[in-house]
Subunit: 129 residues, 4 copies
Amino acid sequence: LANEPFNNLLGIRTIETGDKTVTIECQLRPELMNSDGVLHGGVTATLADVAVGQAVEHHFGGARLNTTVEMKVNYLRPIMGTRVTARGRLLRIGNTLCVGQADVMDDAGNLAGVALVTYMLLDAPAPVR
Amino acid sequence: LANEPFNNLLGIRTIETGDKTVTIECQLRPELMNSDGVLHGGVTATLADVAVGQAVEHHFGGARLNTTVEMKVNYLRPIMGTRVTARGRLLRIGNTLCVGQADVMDDAGNLAGVALVTYMLLDAPAPVR
Amino acid sequence: LANEPFNNLLGIRTIETGDKTVTIECQLRPELMNSDGVLHGGVTATLADVAVGQAVEHHFGGARLNTTVEMKVNYLRPIMGTRVTARGRLLRIGNTLCVGQADVMDDAGNLAGVALVTYMLLDAPAPVR
Amino acid sequence: LANEPFNNLLGIRTIETGDKTVTIECQLRPELMNSDGVLHGGVTATLADVAVGQAVEHHFGGARLNTTVEMKVNYLRPIMGTRVTARGRLLRIGNTLCVGQADVMDDAGNLAGVALVTYMLLDAPAPVR
């Protein structure tokens, strides 16, 4: 995540990679909070996007151009404490689209958010019919 | 948006309010970009969340506790240029849930993203049956 | 919609076409209801999918193979009465993906549901870079 | 599912219940297909909605009034063959909202669709603050 300006602004870093999965983390700090003192929903959405995006990057060894085409997040609990993690996992790797799920956990181990994210491979060849 | 730390980190400010609508803007700057040099999808998602949230706040005059329960964003074009705006509009104001749409526009006037966002009113009375 | 078996089972028919828009309707009848006596959410989702799909078909004159890749529906009110309409409108027509919105209306003219639907053009040429 | 007219029209039946999970199935037949000869996306969406709804019903022993407030489906593969199953699993059981995931499988055991579905408990008491 070295050359990802917004990820760096938030302090997102990768902590684990596996087969079709990547886990990232972010330390909570005052700038990432909303006016209620809990993690801003935009940070949770960013983590979901990045976790699945990193799973795409990891799966293809960073060799494929890609972009998020859509994302859906359900917020299950307010996120407090010291850090948040997001585990992205690829559910479907197609020729053109990759769909992944992100589970967002608080530091007490609660599932605090869940997301479905679709990435498009921008350098996909034409579909074979 | 004075006491919203994450909104301030991104530089989000309200530029227009109307009946059930609020428009916000954010100046693009290097820290908000991804590694491809376009606006990070997490910023777009944040703008969608905030635009609808501000429409909820505006509608109730800031008098109701609320939280995002879910959000869905479609990314329609990469966002470049100097600024991005998001117009949140309430589609349904229920006793417990408020659903809004956010249209995200680039500075050339293109629709660059669209979102549906659900907020819950945390201080809702018990449903009347 | 002549050779669409499931659309025919539900009784969906097109009532209006325009620039990037198609409106469909469905007569309510007991078989389409849930146990609470209102329209089943699956019918509303089907209408959203079909309305945007028909807008894709109409836009390309029926010349492009396509499939739904994802859909998101918000249910805003229970649907009762005698019929329901859904207006699909294309928000973005890309080389590979088309994104549309569907507004679902009850017969009193209330917005009863709203959806974002993504279609993929299966016969898209390879992206030009 | 005895008094669920639309579920009966489609031929949906429960095949397994567990802790926070319910699995349903539907036999494929010509009326449920689209013009490409694969399962209509509206049926898949219906199965996702019903699988999570039945998990809500099962969890509360049928004692709570509820309704779908929103649903998001990703279609991962075309569904063919003789039957389709959907496993609904509750991720979060709140005082007002329940969020579940549905995994839709074809009869070859492939994950063909995935969904996030939010239900509202209509008889929820007022939130305790």
